[in-house]
């Protein structure tokens, strides 16, 4: 990786973090549990890395197996996280 490419990644990291701080500070405390389970699902974005890690021929290598373990776990995170968040948010009603 060239140092220019690295700097761009760091830019993204810093700006996205600031954006995250601004957005999340505005989430009302009532929604903090769904926020956590929802962000949990977002951290399942590692699924992208897991898919790429599985993209390898044959089952002989350790790296393929690690990729498959990561894929199962990240999928649980993504599917389970979004589903349970939806289930919770459905319950928040105003009468």
């Amino acid at each position: 990786m060239s140092s220019e490419a690295l700097i761009i990644l760091i830019y993204i990291l810093v700006l996205a973090s600031f954006l995250g701080f601004e957005l999340i500070a505005k989430v009302p405390p009532t929604l903090h549990t769904p926020l956590m389970s929802g962000s949990n699902a977002i951290s399942g974005i590692t699924i992208v890395g897991a898919l790429l890690a599985c993209n390898e021929m044959g089952y002989s290598t350790l790296s393929k197996w690690l990729g498959m373990i990561a894929l199962v776990l990240a999928t649980i995170n993504v599917v389970g996280g979004y589903t349970v968040t939806d289930r919770m948010l459905k319950m928040f009603k105003k009468k």
């Binding site: 995250g20 999340i24 926020l35 389970s37 699902a41 990729g67 979004y82």
Partner: protein, 461 residues
């Protein structure tokens, strides 16, 4: 990577940001969560387009397996068990990043026999460290919340020096890994140390500090994903990871502030142990009991009620019967509200979810700052399974370990009824002086059973 795939990742990142933005209102939150899920789907499809067709079978298998487990768990889990589920899922996220980082490391060193450039090696080490700590730390948090291991702090002599030694060894092994990537012993050392450190950092932390720990581990799982983004040179991982990292940090800060403790103080653990001996010497409190019928009559005679729920309400599963109590009160035109302390329960917002599940309108759930001035004009406060968050010692007693913690001013109400199993102490191990106040009455017994009786008494009136 083709430009179409890069654009798809950009769209996914935008949808994550919009999804979190829409969480700022209860009305739009559900839509926001769906947008975020759509972003994830786009990212996954874009990635699948880069995959060799021959690998698709096992990938499909893994996705089906993971989806089945995720769907089953998400639909089955009880709302009182949300802290456990979030803790476990944080751990899965951490382990996934950990496995991706190692997979990439072995692919490059053992399959491709290449030497990895500096930035990537460092990213791999960071990802293994954060991922490993998140994984075992979350599992310990899960076991504590689930009652498999004791929720009280587990401390031993030399705990902190041991952690320091392990961390320094990790740094040493990391330095050698950067120099010599071919030696598998070094990477195994990194794996083992990070897994042990995760266990050691969470075991000294007690049950009621779990809101802080879960928030922090949530943040770590995001940071681990972020580090994986640096390994793969992938922007969407960095954006999503930093959003989650930021979210966890903010929640951690809110929780610490609500307990008037620093993050370091929480992480060092063992809270409440050193003080319990001293607190035991204090004057014992004489309390006044109240029965079910008198409670029902009291509810019948007042015009305003505030309920203060705590973790005990979740344990007793009393949220549904409290809704029935609310209905009885509203029939009598009694003003009925809930006061929610930020650290009530075992995770941020835990009480709100339980009460929402019991079909209680969310505009009745009032935050501490907004409701604290209302207590003095309230006829009756019912405290269900909360203790430290209503202890006036936090205001008046500089010797108390919880002194300075912001509390709900429940003691200022005309009458206070405390529904409690027995005279046990709160998490901080201190007597609650509120229980001895002249306006405080104790309603002993299981919250669900006693309040059910109160409700049936009220129905007959």
């Amino acid at each position: 990577m083709s430009i179409a795939i890069l654009l798809a990742y950009l769209i996914a990142s935008i949808l994550f940001v919009l999804g979190i933005k829409m969480m700022n209102k209860t009305k739009s939150a559900r839509q926001g969560n769906r947008l975020s899920a759509l972003g994830m789907l786009i990212a996954i499809v874009a990635t699948l387009l880069q995959i060799e067709v021959i690998s698709l079978v096992e990938i499909f298998g893994c996705i089906v397996l993971g989806s089945a487990i995720g769907l089953y768990y998400a639909n089955k889990v009880e709302m009182t068990k949300m802290p456990e589920m979030v803790a476990l899922f944080n751990g899965f996220g951490g382990l996934a990043s950990f496995a991706v980082a190692l997979s990439d490391f072995f692919l490059r060193t053992e399959v491709n026999m290449e030497s990895i450039e500096l930035v990537t090696v460092i990213s791999i080490i960071v990802s293994v460290f954060i991922g490993g700590v998140t994984f075992t730390g979350s599992i310990v948090a899960f076991l504590k919340l689930n009652g498999n291991i004791s929720g009280s702090p587990i401390t031993f002599k030399g705990q902190h020096p041991l952690n320091l030694i392990l961390f320094i060894s990790f740094l040493a092994a990391a330095t050698f890994t950067v120099i010599d990537q071919s030696d598998p012993i070094l990477i195994i050392a990194l794996i083992v140390i990070s897994l042990i450190l995760g266990i050691l950092t969470v075991i000294p932390i007690g049950g009621a500090d779990m809101p802080v720990v879960i928030s922090l581990l949530n943040s770590y799982s995001g940071m681990a994903a972020c580090a994986t983004g640096f390994i793969l040179n992938n922007n969407v991982l960095i954006v999503a990871g930093s959003l989650v990292g930021a979210s966890g940090i903010i929640l951690t800060q809110i929780m610490c502030k609500a307990m008037n403790r620093s993050l370091i103080n929480v992480l060092l653990g063992g809270f409440g142990q050193s003080v319990s001996a001293a607190a035991a010497d204090g004057p014992s409190i004489t309390v006044k009991e109240i029965g079910v019928e008198e409670t029902a009559m009291l509810f019948d005679s007042v015009s305003s009620v505030i309920v203060v729920p705590g973790y005990g309400m979740a344990v007793a599963q009393a949220q549904h019967v409290i809704r029935e109590l609310m209905e009885q009160c509203e029939k009598r035109n009694i003003d009925f509200k809930f006061a929610i302390h930020p650290v009530a329960g075992r995770m941020p917002g835990h009480m709100n979810v339980l009460l929402a599940e019991a079909n209680i309108s969310y505009d009745k759930l009032i935050e501490m700052e907004s409701i604290n001035d209302d207590f003095q004009n309230t006829d009756l406060v019912l405290i269900v399974g909360a203790n430290d968050v209503v202890n006036p010692a936090a205001r008046n007693n500089p010797q108390s370990p919880i002194y300075g913690m912001p509390i709900l001013n429940a003691d200022k109400a005309r009458t206070v009824i405390v529904s409690k199993r027995s005279m046990g102490k709160g998490y901080a191990g201190v007597e609650n002086e509120l229980f001895g106040y002249p306006n405080c009455l104790m309603l002993f017994g299981d919250a669900k059973q006693t309040i059910t009786k109160v409700v049936s008494e009220m129905k007959e009136m």
